[in-house]
Assembly symmetry: D2
Homo-oligomer: 465 residues x 4
């Protein structure tokens, strides 16, 4: 789980949530609270679209806006969203493309009525498909991949017996990362790309079915986890409450490529991704760091929030006691005014403080989940020293970032990556640590429960070309 809004960290594209309840119930509230549990996946914009499956044609209502759920929704707005089927979305904030037009879910009218669509991931052939569509007369009103997907579904629907068949045919044409939740007038569909880059699981509560990016949101609304949508699978909930599965696009496990960063950083530790506990992954990452890069020290601490579990794992394995060395200010939000000219105050200082009582006179092992540009790491290390730490040993629960991501993780350009063209020793010096170690790439598969993962950003080898 990310330290919210941290411009120094990686960003991901979105969380999705869909729900289909028996006729007469309203799903908007549950979608709203479900999205709350996914808010860490995207803080730029959010939205909910709902319909009544027995209502008149075109009875879909959608509300979306910039900002957090907190900011975008009011009880009045939520109350206006009536219906027993719906999809919701939280979107990650990247500078530039951050316009209201790009908020999701995308709600369209096509030949068979209204379609609501929420997407997490990134297509690698989106431009190609856009061009192809444009050459047959398509118009685009957004720059999001979801619009390309919606278009292809709409076109394929003309030759398909059902909307789920059209979704499948669309999957034959799009390439890249996509976890989709799609609402048609009478069906709710969840689908994952064959590589399974992004998570999507199925939940159930009193006859209502749910698709969500993370299982933690099921706990929030009192639903129970059923299973993950399999990579390549199309799952359809129909008006009778049946779950139908189409696995024809599934590929062998050995070719799959789950984003390992979902385990390391993106997902909440109380979520399970393809059956593997995110919490446990992080504990393991800490354990492996302790095995591979031991150091003599007095306490182990983690940088909030995602470094904490790895620190607990490291502490347990190494026998060095775990200590809470940092206090995080949970009020620093999206609209926080960043310190400007005044050099004596830094954003990091406002967000984090070191606990002198814990670190003074101590040799500290500090675990963080990643180093992107390095600016934050440098300041945090200094903060520990100023609070009295005698040594600071940095351990990173992921390998060094060296390559771009094409599948929805917002990695900066190579030139901005601290690890790019630098030796371990150079990095250590830059961040001011007494020692530095990263998790070895060979450990990644194990922390992901031995599932097949994508390690492209570390190795440059991607599951798709």
């Amino acid at each position: 789980m990310s330290m919210p809004y941290d411009e120094m960290k990686l960003g991901e594209e979105c969380g999705v949530f869909g729900m289909y309840a028996p006729v007469g119930e309203n799903v908007a509230d549950s979608i709203y609270y479900g999205l709350y549990a996914l808010q860490h996946r995207g803080q730029e914009s959010c939205g909910i679209a709902v319909s009544d499956t027995e209502g008149p044609k075109g009875n879909t209502t959608c509300y979306k806006d910039m900002g957090l759920l907190n900011e975008a929704f009011s009880s009045e707005k939520l109350e206006k969203l009536k219906g027993n089927i719906g999809v919701g979305h939280v979107r990650y904030s990247t500078t530039g493309a951050s316009v209201r037009e790009n908020a999701q879910p995308l709600v369209i009218n096509y030949v068979k009525g209204v379609l609501g669509l929420a997407h997490n991931g990134n297509l690698i052939n989106a431009e190609e498909l856009r061009e192809e569509l444009a050459y047959t007369g398509a118009i685009f009103q957004t720059t999001i991949d979801s619009e390309v997907i919606a278009y292809i579904i709409a076109r394929e629907r003309l030759n398909s017996a059902s909307v789920e068949e059209a979704v499948g045919r669309c999957m034959d044409r799009i390439k890249g990362a996509y976890s989709l939740v799609i609402m048609s007038p009478r069906k709710l569909i969840g689908a994952r790309d064959p590589y399974g880059f992004r998570p999507l699981c199925i939940g159930e509560r009193d006859g209502a079915y749910i698709f969500t990016s993370e299982s933690c949101s099921l706990d929030t609304i009192g639903a129970k986890y059923v299973r993950d949508v399999e990579p390549g699978e199309v799952v359809t909930i129909d008006s009778e409450g049946h779950i139908n599965s189409d696995r024809t696009r599934c590929i062998p496990e050995c070719q799959r490529g789950r984003c390992v960063f979902e385990y390391i950083y993106f997902s909440r530790p109380d979520s399970y991704f393809d059956g593997v506990s995110v919490y446990k992954s992080r504990i393991l990452a800490g354990k492996y760091l302790a095995e591979d890069s031991p150091v003599e020290a007095d306490i182990v601490t983690g940088v909030p929030d995602s470094g904490i579990q790895a620190a607990i794992g490291y502490a347990h394995e190494s026998g060095i006691p775990y200590g809470q060395a940092f206090i995080k200010n949970s009020y620093v939000g999206r609209t926080f005014i960043k310190p400007g000219q005044e050099a004596r105050v830094s954003s990091v200082r406002v967000k984090l403080n070191a606990l002198r009582e814990v670190v003074e006179g101590k040799r500290v092992v500090m675990i963080d989940d990643s180093i992107v540009r390095g600016t934050t790491s440098d300041r945090i290390v200094r903060m520990l020293r100023e609070a009295g730490a005698t040594e600071v040993h940095v351990r990173i629960s992921s390998p060094p970032f060296l390559h771009p991501c094409y599948f929805g993780t917002d990695v900066p350009g190579e030139d901005e990556l601290l690890a790019h063209n630098r030796s371990l020793e150079e990095i250590r010096r830059i961040i001011g640590a007494d020692s530095l170690a990263y998790l070895d790439v060979s450990r990644l598969k194990a922390i992901a429960g031995n599932l097949q993962i994508c390690t492209g950003c570390f190795t440059g080898k991607y599951p798709v070309d």
Copy 2:
């Protein structure tokens, strides 16, 4: 010009404004002030889209939101709109469809880049076209006609040598009322439907060209009126500043059908519509009322704002002096809280007050532009009596409303029309007047400068089937 926000009056669909200035200039400010002069045509939402014709591909910026220009735009937002070509729009507020998704201009990406589109009017075959498009895989994200138009242009563009040719081909397929301003990467196009329902004229300022719904907006920005776009004409401004005209879709004047309500009520009196002064039309309407429906009285007054000119015309013809009998509260706006339970205060009372000094002990001729539901008229007549008028003779500067409008005027259902199935005498009694007369249908053509007009809402005979 409408008394702003009056739910008792007719509404129209929108004002459009486009501008193409030499490279290096910014048009957003002029579009903003131009739209200010069109604000009476639509208060629901507004927007501006601009590009730089020499800039990189896709450099279009658009901002649109609910509310008046006053509310939607700030100087920061305006400053971010950079470019020498742009289109703007103000949209009329009808309950229900009033959602941000429907704000204009519509900005789309299609095979040839970005297209910005602003539309005033109403298509009568929109549903048919939507369905046809949907059956070939189109998706729709709004419920506005502009999206249908954009789609057809995008598709026709594939078989056309230029965007203006595609606009022309699109015009062969759409039916109804449309005054369009379209911005392509390097051209600005203005087009009117062959009947010429809605106005659109051309202006010029220092080498920059303008299309606008009303000529008054040219005065506002210091531009000069060039001419009206002819009904059926497609006018294209290119990057060299040439004006090219395609008149192949023009039909004989006798088949045209300008909306006569533009003269009577919608347009500002300082505008010219197809060369005819709106002010003069209203003066004439008053003159004809005086000739056809004379009455002995002490003063003539007009209900602000559009009744005033007709009252001046009536006064002049009849010799009865003109008097300002009403004070209008210009602060009553879109967000005015309407009086609820408290019967002693009415919306009309807050908006208008009668001048006792003017009407006390007088026989008053009161001119209004129309009676829709009649609720307002009744209260205004009563207000005059309470202020001491001994007689109130109501004269309406348009014929009775009896039929729906299919071309963009928001006439309520027949059952809500006061004149529907009621005799003149019944109407008089309902509104409490001492006498009542409407303008005769036969006078309409003359007030429109003998141009061909549409009188469908009075006669049920429309220029198109």
Copy 3:
């Protein structure tokens, strides 16, 4: 009535409105609509405070904020204001002092409970009194005179038998212009300074009593005008609905000094100020201008809004026909973005447009209510010429401004006054008119119904030293 928000015009300090209805009724709605009719008197901030006279001690609720009523109040906010007694206020916007802390009504707790106070006018010994109060331990939280007044009332209350007696004793100490409405736990009090600078009248509706700055607001809420509060009078409404009057501070009529600008410009024409119709005053001003400064011309027109009645008076007297030469854009509001660098658009052009049909080829007499800095006049004259007027003869329905006002009218410094140290001929040339005349000072008393007026800003002679 002012052309809203015009920085080129004079500003005044506020409108006040108070109401005391029988127990069980709610006055907030009526105060809200009453203030709507006073909005032209102040657009900076507004507020309403109400109590229940039978409710528990200290049950006063107050809501005030920056902006127009439109902007500051919502139905939710209005609904929360419960009670049968209340006061309201609209405040004029002067740059600088425009902070929320200074919004009125002022609600204070003092020895006898809660006091709500709304004030229109300006004290000339406020600074002196503040200092005196400070030297006995007073603290001030605003910079408005109302706080000084409240303080003195609170102190005098300790030696008074009633709140009205304390108000009277306070009046013995404050000097300058004040029309006050004061709400105590069980009484509503209206008071005017002995000179009667600012208006205040009494209304009645079904057993409820009202104090308001202008009688037009009584029409708005369906109340009837009872009489004006006399200069120097303290009028008290008690819980039995009795009106008690204390006239001990009244001075002879010949020493009074009503602000003549209330007749010429501030008040709405449908109001009566000390029994004299504002409308009639303006008609008379026009008549006198025609008598004193005749000219050969084809039409007479008035600059909206307050020039219109004087133009009608001029037309009637001169026999030259009245014509509506200007269209005013009523959407230009407080938050209007003023044209900056772009010289081709001016604020005046956005607000006003000349009607070519009316002025082309004509010799025009243009009546305006005043010239302050002259910038606007210059542009309006030019606008008429550009619309084809062959001659423009400017007539001003007030004498030239030469002196400051100490009683609440926001006259700029002498250096900014166009008439300061300039001959009539110089002024004419600056504004570009063919001829120019002002109303003669000797005519002022007559337009005010021969009541005693203050002409300080024209003559430098003030009723108080």
Copy 4:
């Protein structure tokens, strides 16, 4: 540190921050970031007032509004606050009195110029003093104690040689809890009541002096901790940067009464209160719980945020491993829409989730800082069981709440306190725990570093009568 916005927890009245920098510097930014570190002390409203000590008289600027710093301030607003001396405040939200008028700092004009005042605490003789002041003519515009304090200072100033002398004389009259920061035109004053209920410490950065409620805010702005203001002390910073101390009102340590809840819950763990580390206090509380109320279990966990340190202390003492059993959703803020009718979603569930991986099949010791009404405890215990905990042993790091607080802690009425009139066994049953123990009252002094504390809410014995 509080779990933000939790209506089930105790609330406190405010955080204060003042700063006096050398002439030419601006303190607003540092105050803003300093308040960020105090935001947990109050989320209702916030404000900053600044002046330039060399500027013209009365050059104070103040901005305050409802909401978090995040919501109330923008960079534009912050930039307008210019000056080298200032005070800031964050206010706690209690229902009812939550109106903008009550936001702090309070800025007043008095005989010696402007005074800015920020107050944390609660006076017990405020009503008495208000009445006394009212009987000598005072008026009150708020219902906050700060206004009473300001009044008395203003009055006492008349007989004092300096503002600090007036503050001292004021302290002789007010009774109760008060940590004050006061800005006069050229001095910054910090003062604590003789009992020392609320914290206030002194910091320094490059010649600038700071008073703040908590030392953690010094870290945030890169300042260093100097010392605490002593209970009863008045500390004055003058324009030469001297610190002057007046200790004449200090009482013996044995009579003092620091609020023990500052250690247990209110203060951030990275703060020091009268030299005692809050972190360490909580570790000790956990340690004592382990000693006094041991239990056989598999893991110890703390309810975020303030239960975490006590859990670490318990774990260390007991030898049972510490585990992170809860994930807190840090996006749940002030404007979070609480689940209504839909029983299946609870606020607690949205805010907290249990980590199944950590608790499944385990006997869990769960440490929380207090039980107020018990509603939350019940749901959290249930959450652990649903996540698989086999036993849940609740340990509370404070004694049972039995009595009201008169000194600024927002304890609900006795009837709402779960511990009121209930046996330990009854409480255990209500919250559904397998065992339950509170910290013993005898342990409190030790966790506060053997300083003298107030235990009124547990024992009913208060340091003042």
